[in-house]
C-alpha cells in the first residue's frame, strides 16, 4: 500500500515553497521570543483563505497538479444565486446514470471557455432515499478549477432533488466533453439553529464543576496537541491574546446530558464559567460526527443568535470544549443554550457518472498589453457570463464594462486561479446581468481602458 500511495501521489511533495513557509513561521515566532507552543499564534504562512470554497472535484493526479498551482480563490458567492437570468443560454442535456436504483440526471448546461453551469437532479427509482435534504457529497466535474454546488429544489411528488452546479476557471470547456460524477450522496439537513429551550443562566447554576485552572503546560501534558480554533470572526480577533493568557480547556468530565431537540449526534456534557468565559463541553456520536459539523451558541428570547466570540479546543477523546465570551455572567439569565448544527444521517455510496457536451456561448477574445507596474494583462475574453482576464502580478478585485449607450457596469464577484510561483493568473469577473457582447464599447482593468473592436 505504501508503494501504491507513493507512486500515485509522487507529485505531492513538501516542496521548497512549503518548506520556506515553515521556516519563516518559525522565524516569526522566534523573533517574538517564543519558546513554546503557547506562543504559537502566528498564522499559518502561505494559507489560501478561500481555497476551500467551491473546491473542484477531479482526478486525484490532476487535482494534485492543479491545486498546487492555485494560490487564491474568491468565494463562489455568485453560485448561491441561481442563474435564472442566464437560462436562455442553457442547452438541454438529459443524460442519466443509474446506480443502485438512484438516478443522476444532467438536465441542462451552459458553458463558455472557462465557466460551466449545470442543472442536475437525483431521484430514487426504488425507494425514498432522496429527500429535500439530500446533497452530493463526493463529486467531480471535469474542466473547471473552482466549483460550487447548491440545492435548487425538491419535488415531493416524484421524490426528485434538483441542484445547480457552477464551475469556473477552466479552459476550453465549451464544445468539449464534460463529466459530472458523484461517488457518494449525503442525506440530512444543512446547518440550522437548534435551541435546547434551556436558560443558560439556570443551566449554569445547576452545574457544580470546579473550574480549577491548570497551567497551559500542565494542560498540554494531558491534552497534547490541542489548540484553540477561532469559530467566529470575533473569536479570530482574540484567539492570539487568549492563548497568550495561558487559557486551557477546563471541563475535564461529563456531568450533564443535554441534547438539542432533533439533533442526535450532539450532547452537551458540562458547563462552567470563569473570568468572562462560558465553557461548554460537547460530546459527539462517533458514527455521525464525520458527516456533520456545528457549534453551540447563545440565543436571546426571540431566538436570535447572541453575537459573541467563540473559540473551541478539540480534545483527544473526540469531544470539544467551546468557550464563549460572556463578560457579564448575569447576561446568561436572558440567554438560551442553542447551537448551529447540520443533521446528516446517511451516506449512500456508488458511482454515478454522466458525460455530456455543451456547444456553449459565443465569446470574444481581446489581446491586451496592460502594464501598470504591479499588474500586466495579456488577454481578456468576453462572454455573456463575464470577463476573463489573463495576466500576471497583483489581481484587481473588480473591473468595469462600458456599454455603447454609456452605461457603466461594475463586476460583482470574481474568482481566480493561478501559479503562486510565477504570479500568473486567470480571473473571471461576473456581473449582475448577462453581458451582450455587441453592446460593449470598452472594459476598464485597474484604471486602464481597453477598447473593444
Amino acid at each position: 500500500m505504501k508503494n501504491a500511495i507513493d507512486q500515485s501521489l509522487g507529485r505531492l511533495q513538501l516542496d521548497e515553497r512549503a518548506r520556506r513557509n515553515i521556516t519563516e513561521r518559525i522565524q516569526v515566532l522566534e523573533s517574538r521570543g517564543c519558546e513554546g507552543v503557547s506562543c504559537d499564534t502566528a498564522p499559518v504562512i502561505g494559507r489560501s483563505p478561500f481555497l476551500h470554497f467551491g473546491r473542484r472535484k477531479r482526478s486525484m493526479r490532476v487535482l494534485v497538479a492543479v491545486l498546487l498551482l492555485i494560490f487564491a480563490l474568491s468565494a463562489l458567492c455568485i453560485a448561491a444565486e441561481l442563474p435564472w437570468k442566464f437560462m436562455n443560454f442553457f442547452e438541454a442535456v438529459n443524460e442519466t446514470s443509474v446506480y443502485d436504483g438512484i438516478e443522476l440526471k444532467v438536465t441542462s448546461a451552459a458553458a463558455d471557455d472557462d465557466t460551466v453551469m449545470v442543472f442536475y437532479t437525483l431521484r430514487d427509482l426504488e425507494g425514498d432515499r432522496i429527500s429535500e435534504a439530500t446533497s452530493a457529497y463526493d463529486y467531480f466535474l471535469s474542466g473547471p478549477t473552482t466549483i460550487g454546488n447548491i440545492r435548487d429544489g425538491y419535488d415531493e411528488k416524484t421524490k426528485t432533488a434538483a441542484f445547480f452546479l457552477i464551475g469556473d476557471n477552466g479552459s476550453g470547456l465549451k464544445g468539449h466533453k464534460l463529466t459530472y460524477a458523484i461517488s457518494s450522496i449525503l442525506d440530512g439537513s444543512p446547518m440550522e439553529l437548534y435551541n435546547t429551550q434551556r436558560n443558560a443562566g439556570e443551566l449554569l447554576a445547576e452545574q457544580t464543576a470546579d473550574l480549577g485552572r491548570p497551567s497551559f503546560r500542565e494542560y498540554h501534558a494531558r491534552q497534547e496537541d490541542s489548540f484553540w480554533n477561532a469559530q467566529t470572526q470575533k473569536g479570530s480577533n482574540i484567539k492570539d491574546s487568549f492563548e497568550k493568557e495561558d487559557r486551557a480547556a477546563l471541563l475535564q468530565d461529563d456531568r450533564l446530558e443535554l441534547k438539542f431537540p432533533g439533533v442526535d449526534w450532539v450532547t452537551i456534557t458540562n458547563m462552567g464559567y470563569q473570568d468572562g468565559w462560558l465553557h461548554i463541553r460537547v460530546c459527539y456520536d462517533e458514527s455521525l460526527v464525520d458527516l456533520n459539523y456545528g457549534y453551540p451558541c447563545l440565543t436571546d428570547s426571540e431566538g436570535r443568535e447572541w453575537d459573541t466570540a467563540i473559540l473551541n479546543s478539540p480534545l483527544q477523546d473526540g469531544s470539544e470544549e467551546f468557550i464563549l465570551q460572556v463578560a457579564d455572567v448575569q447576561a446568561l439569565d436572558d440567554l438560551y443554550l442553542s447551537g448551529f448544527y447540520t443533521n446528516n444521517k446517511t451516506l449512500y455510496q456508488g458511482e454515478w457518472k454522466v458525460t455530456f457536451e455543451v456547444t456553449g456561448v459565443s465569446t470574444k477574445t481581446i489581446p491586451c498589453s496592460i502594464e501598470t507596474g504591479t499588474l500586466s494583462v495579456s488577454k481578456a475574453v468576453l462572454s455573456p457570463f463575464g470577463v476573463s482576464i489573463y495576466g500576471k502580478g497583483e489581481r484587481t478585485e473588480s473591473i468595469c464594462v462600458q456599454l455603447k449607450d454609456g452605461t457603466l457596469l461594475k463586476s460583482e464577484s470574481y474568482s481566480c486561479s493561478g501559479d503562486g510561483e510565477t504570479g500568473k493568473f486567470e480571473c473571471k469577473y461576473k456581473f449582475a446581468e448577462p453581458l451582450v457582447l455587441e453592446e460593449i464599447q470598452s472594459i476598464s482593468i485597474a484604471g486602464e481602458q481597453v477598447d473593444i473592436p
Binding site: 500511495i5 513538501l14 512549503a18 518548506r19 502561505g46 463529486y139 480554533n229 470539544e320
Partner: protein, 186 residues
C-alpha cells in the same frame, strides 16, 4: 534525540532533516486524511512548528517519526472537526467536502496505466473509508507503525487498532474485489 539537534547547539532542532525525512510522507498522509492539498500543507506546517518548539518535551518515548505522526494526525483531526468554519459560505456546506476519485476518462489501458489505475482505486478506497478506519490504515500501512505505536498515536487500546484494521481490510477487500496487500508483521 541528538540525531535531530544541530551540532553545537543543543536546543536547535535540525528542521531541515525533519522536513527531508518526514515532510513529504506526512503531507501525503494528511492529504489522504483530509482530502485537501492546502489543508494538508497547513497541517504539516503546524506539525513542524509545534514539534520544533516542543522538542524539549519529547522524551524519546517514541521515535521521532511516531511523535511527528502523532502530532500530524491530531492536527488533521482538529481540522476535520473545524470544517464547519470553511462551510460558512454561500455554497451549501456538505457539498464542498469530498474525495477526488479517479474516474475512468480514457480508453487506452496500458500495463502501466493498469497499475496506476489499481493504485488509484486503492487510494480511492482508502479515502472512502470512515475516518476511524482510514486513520489506522494510514498509520499502520502507510506510516508503517506497529499496532502498538498506532494505538499510542491514536490513544486507543491496541486491541481497538487490531479490530479497526481488520474491519478496514474487510471494507477494502469488498471495495476492491479482493485486496492483496503486502501484509506486514509487528
Amino acid at each position: 534525540m541528538e540525531e535531530y539537534l544541530t551540532a553545537g547547539d543543543e536546543k536547535k532542532v535540525d528542521l531541515e532533516a525533519w522536513m527531508n525525512d518526514y515532510g513529504t510522507n506526512l503531507l501525503r498522509m494528511c492529504f489522504l486524511y483530509l482530502k485537501d492539498v492546502q489543508m494538508a500543507e497547513d497541517a504539516v506546517q503546524e506539525t513542524m512548528v509545534n514539534a520544533y518548539f516542543k522538542y524539549e518535551d519529547f522524551k524519546n518515548q517514541a521515535s521521532v517519526k511516531t511523535w511527528l505522526t502523532r502530532i500530524a494526525i491530531n492536527r488533521c483531526k482538529d481540522y476535520r472537526r473545524s470544517m464547519w468554519f470553511r462551510h460558512v459560505s454561500c455554497v451549501e456546506p456538505a457539498e464542498l467536502v469530498g474525495t477526488e476519485p479517479q474516474w475512468d476518462l480514457g480508453d487506452e489501458v496500458s500495463e502501466e496505466a493498469e497499475t496506476n489505475q489499481k493504485n488509484m482505486d486503492l487510494i480511492k478506497a482508502v479515502m472512502k473509508l470512515p475516518v476511524k478506519y482510514r486513520e489506522v490504515v494510514l498509520l499502520y500501512y502507510y506510516q508503517e507503525l506497529s499496532t502498538k505505536e498506532t494505538a499510542g498515536v491514536l490513544a486507543v487500546p491496541e486491541s481497538t487498532v487490531s479490530t479497526r484494521l481488520r474491519r478496514a481490510k474487510q471494507a477494502l477487500k469488498k471495495e476492491l474485489g479482493g485486496w492483496q496487500n503486502d501484509e506486514k508483521c509487528d
